[in-house]
C-alpha cells in the first residue's frame, strides 16, 4: 500500500522509535516568536542546556509588539516584560533575531515561508498553534507548548505520536469574492471545531490546486481551529515557483535537488487515509462568525442561529453564553448589525495579495463614520512591497490606520484591544471570549468582507 504525503514527511524524520510507538522526530527548523522564545530560553537557562543547532533557529518578535508607527519596543507593559528576554536569549544562545526595524521582521508564520526558511519536506516547530500554516509548502509543521520548544531547542528533536490522516478534497466553482477564509470557516462550521482532533489534514482537489500560495497559507493556518494540529498541501509548480527565488532557498544544484524532492513528497495513488471529506464549494457565499468560536459561522447573508434541536443542557448553556457575550439573540440578521472596528492583518490574512484586494475595494472611498479601521501588514517585506505599490496611501486616504508588522489586534498581547461591547470584523483566526479585549465582540471574516465592512459600517 502507498503512503500519504504526511506519512512520507513523518518517515523522513524519524530518528528512532520508542517501544510504545512514539517517535523521535528530527526538527529541521525551529521558529521563535517573542512569547515562546522568552519562555523557552528561561527553561534553557534554568536547566543549563544550550541550543543544539542554533543555525536552524530563527526568532522574530510579533505577539507583544505595538503596531503603532514609531514603536520602540517599550510601548506596552507586555512588550517591556517580554522583548528584552527574547533579545537576551537570542544573544546568549546564538539565535538569529529579526528585531524591530529589521527588514525581515514580521509575524513568524509569514516570514518563515517569505524568507525561504520554510521549504517542502521539512519539519518545522514553533511554540504557537498556528504553526500549521507552514504545512502549505508541503512541510510537517507542528505547534507545541513552551516545554516542547525547549526540548526541541536543546535536542533538535521531539517525541511525537503519529496522528491519523484525513484528506479534505475541495472542488466546485469558487464564486467571485469567496476567499480561502470563507472556505475554511465554512468547513469548520460544517465539520465542527473538534472534528480534526488526532488528525493530520491534507488539503487537495482542484480548488486547492488553483490557489495561490498566500491563499494556501490561509487554508492551512485555520486547520487548528478544526482541532487538527497539522495541515499539509502537496508541493506543486505553484509551490516551486513561490520558494525558488526566496532569499534563503537553496541555489543552483541544491535547488534542483530540492525541486526533485518535491515530486517525491506527494501522496501515492494507492494510499489510504483514516478519514476523507469532500467539499463542493459551488454556491458558497462569504462567511462570518456570529459567536465565540470559529465554528459558529454563518453566511454574511444569514442570521444568528437558534440553539440546535437535540442540544443537551451544556450545549444550550454555551449558545446562551455566546448570545449574551455578543449582545444579540437568535434570528438577528448579520447584515443588520452595526460594527465599530475593522482589523485586516494577522498570520491568517496579512499577506500582500490580500492587501492588494482590500485596497481595490476601498480606493477612493472612506471608512464609515463611527468605525475605526486598522490594517497591519504581516511582515516588513509585505509592508515595503505594499508601500512600493502605493497601497498605504490608498488605505490612509480612505481613513484606515496603517500599522507596523506584528500580531496587533489578533492576540491581545500588546496593549492593542477592541473596547468592551464593540463589534470588530477581523481577518484573524480566533473569536474566543476576551481574545481581542475584555467583552470585545469579534467577527472573523475574509479581507474582502472586512474591507467592505469598513466602508459601509455594516456586514455585507
Amino acid at each position: 500500500m502507498g503512503k500519504t504525503l504526511f506519512e512520507k514527511l513523518w518517515d523522513l524524520h524519524v530518528v528512532c522509535e520508542d517501544d510504545d510507538g512514539t517517535c523521535l522526530l528530527f526538527i529541521d527548523r525551529i521558529y521563535l516568536h517573542d512569547l515562546c522564545g522568552a519562555f523557552s530560553f528561561q527553561m534553557l537557562n534554568k536547566n543549563g542546556y544550550s541550543v543544539r543547532r542554533p543555525e536552524a533557529v530563527i526568532a522574530s518578535p510579533d505577539h507583544t509588539l505595538s503596531s503603532k508607527c514609531g514603536r520602540a519596543g517599550e510601548d506596552s507593559p507586555e512588550c517591556r516584560s517580554i522583548l528584552p528576554r527574547l533579545r537576551r536569549g537570542c544573544k546568549k544562545y546564538g539565535v538569529t533575531l529579526f528585531d524591530i526595524n529589521d527588514d525581515r521582521q514580521g509575524i513568524i508564520h509569514i516570514i518563515g515561508p517569505e524568507q525561504g526558511f520554510s521549504l517542502p519536506g521539512m519539519t518545522i516547530l514553533c511554540g504557537d498553534s498556528h504553526t500549521c500554516t507552514h504545512g502549505a509548502v508541503g512541510a510537517l509543521a507542528l505547534g507545541v507548548g513552551t516545554s516542547e520548544v525547549y526540548h526541541a531547542l536543546a535536542t533538535s528533536c521531539l517525541w511525537v505520536r503519529k496522528p491519523k490522516t484525513m484528506r479534505i478534497w475541495i472542488g466546485g466553482t469558487r464564486d467571485d469574492g469567496v476567499e480561502p477564509m470563507d472556505i475554511i470557516l465554512h468547513l469548520i462550521a460544517e465539520q465542527g471545531i473538534s472534528r480534526g482532533i488526532g488528525y493530520a489534514v491534507e488539503y487537495c482537489g482542484p480548488v486547492v490546486e488553483q490557489m495561490t500560495m498566500d491563499e494556501r497559507f490561509t487554508l492551512c493556518n485555520l486547520t487548528i481551529e478544526m482541532g487538527a494540529e497539522y495541515g499539509v498541501i502537496a508541493p506543486d509548480d505553484t509551490t516551486i515557483a513561490y520558494f525558488r527565488d526566496k532569499p534563503n532557498a537553496p541555489k543552483g544544484k541544491m535547488l534542483e535537488a530540492l525541486i526533485a524532492h518535491c515530486k517525491e513528497i506527494r501522496s501515492d495513488p494507492d494510499c489510504k487515509y483514516d478519514a476523507e471529506i469532500s467539499e463542493d464549494i459551488t454556491g458558497l457565499t462569504r462567511q462570518i462568525t456570529w459567536g465565540i468560536n470559529p465554528g459558529q459561522t454563518v453566511s454574511v447573508f444569514g442570521g444568528v442561529p437558534s440553539v440546535p434541536a437535540g442540544a443537551d443542557e451544556n450545549e444550550k448553556t454555551l449558545f446562551e453564553k455566546a448570545y449574551g457575550y455578543m449582545g444579540y439573540g437568535p434570528g438577528m440578521r448579520m447584515q443588520d448589525l452595526s460594527i465599530q472596528r475593522v482589523f485586516i492583518g494577522s498570520c491568517s490574512n496579512g499577506r500582500l495579495s490580500y492587501l492588494v484586494k482590500s485596497a481595490a475595494l476601498v480606493k477612493g472611498k472612506h471608512v464609515a463614520g463611527g468605525v475605526e479601521a486598522l490594517i497591519v501588514p504581516g511582515s516588513m517585506a509585505v509592508k515595503r512591497a505594499a508601500e512600493a505599490q502605493g497601497l498605504d496611501d490608498i488605505f490612509t486616504e480612505a481613513g484606515f490606520q496603517w500599522g507596523e508588522p506584528g500580531c496587533s489586534l489578533c492576540a491581545g498581547s500588546n496593549g492593542e484591544r477592541v473596547a468592551a461591547g464593540q463589534h470588530c470584523v477581523s481577518t484573524t483566526n480566533r473569536n474566543f471570549i476576551g481574545r481581542q479585549g475584555r467583552d470585545a465582540r469579534t467577527h472573523l471574516a475574509s479581507p474582502v468582507t472586512a474591507a467592505m465592512a469598513a466602508i459601509s459600517g455594516k456586514i455585507q
Binding site: 512514539t22 498553534s129 507548548g145 473538534s194 465554528g295 491581545g412
Partner: protein, 208 residues
C-alpha cells in the same frame, strides 16, 4: 516536574464544551501576572462580568464553590483546551490543585502540554464522563491510580485507561525528558544526521 502519585480525592464537574485556552489562561494575565495563573484562570467564568480586576468571584462557577475547594480532579466538557498552544493553561489548572482532568476529548496541543505540567488528561466516553460528573456532586471520592492505569469512581467501579508507556513514566518519575533524549538517542541522532546530509543536502548547505 512534580512526580505523579496515586491519589484519592473529590472531583468538580464543569461540562461546557469547547473551552479554549484563552479562557483557561487569558493572555494579559499570563504575561503580566505570571505568579497568579491560578487566580485568573477561567477569568471569563470565574469572575462576575468576566472581570478579574473586580475581584468579585461568581458563585455560580463550580470551581469557586466551597464544596469543591480541594478537588483534585476536573471533569470537563468535550474539546476541552482547544485553541492556543499556551502551556500556562495546564500550568494554571495544576496550580489550582488539580492532578487529573477527565473529558470525552481534549485539544491536541493541550493534551501534550498537560503531561509537561504533571497533569494527567484522561479520555473516557461521554456517558462515562456524565456519570462521573453525577457522582462528583456528593463529594464522592475518586481514586486515580497511574500505576494500575485505572480510575475507581465513588460507586466502587474500576475503569481502566490506556496511556503510552513513555508518558506514564514521565509523569511517575517527574523527569525532564531532555536528558533522556540526549543520552538515550545519541547514536541514532548521529546516524540520522549522517544519512540525512546525503539524502537532503540542501538543508545543510544553506543553514542560517
Amino acid at each position: 516536574m512534580r512526580k505523579f502519585e496515586t491519589f484519592r480525592g473529590v472531583a468538580v464537574a464543569w461540562l461546557l464544551p469547547n473551552i479554549d485556552t484563552d479562557t483557561i489562561s487569558p493572555m494579559k494575565r499570563l504575561i503580566l501576572n505570571p505568579d497568579e495563573l491560578d487566580v485568573y484562570s477561567f477569568e471569563p467564568y470565574r469572575f462576575v462580568g468576566g472581570d478579574g480586576d473586580s475581584g468579585l468571584l461568581d458563585p455560580e462557577f463550580p470551581l469557586n464553590q466551597q464544596t469543591y475547594r480541594n478537588a483534585k480532579i476536573l471533569i470537563a466538557g468535550e474539546n476541552f483546551g482547544c485553541g492556543s498552544s499556551r502551556e500556562t493553561a495546564p500550568e494554571a489548572i495544576a496550580k489550582c490543585g488539580f492532578r487529573c482532568i477527565i473529558s470525552s476529548s481534549f485539544g491536541g496541543i493541550f493534551t501534550k502540554n498537560c503531561y509537561q505540567q504533571g497533569l494527567l488528561p484522561l479520555v473516557f466516553p461521554k456517558e462515562m464522563v456524565l456519570s462521573f460528573a453525577e457522582q462528583s456532586k456528593d463529594k464522592g471520592i475518586f481514586e486515580v491510580n497511574l500505576i494500575k492505569q485505572c480510575v475507581v469512581s465513588p460507586d466502587g467501579i474500576t475503569h481502566f485507561f490506556e496511556i503510552e508507556e513513555s508518558r506514564r513514566d514521565m509523569l511517575l518519575n517527574g523527569f525532564d525528558p531532555v536528558q533522556r533524549t540526549l543520552n538515550g538517542s545519541a547514536a541514532s541522532f548521529e546516524q540520522f544526521l549522517k544519512r540525512d546530509r546525503t539524502a537532503r543536502p540542501w538543508l545543510y548547505t544553506h543553514e542560517l
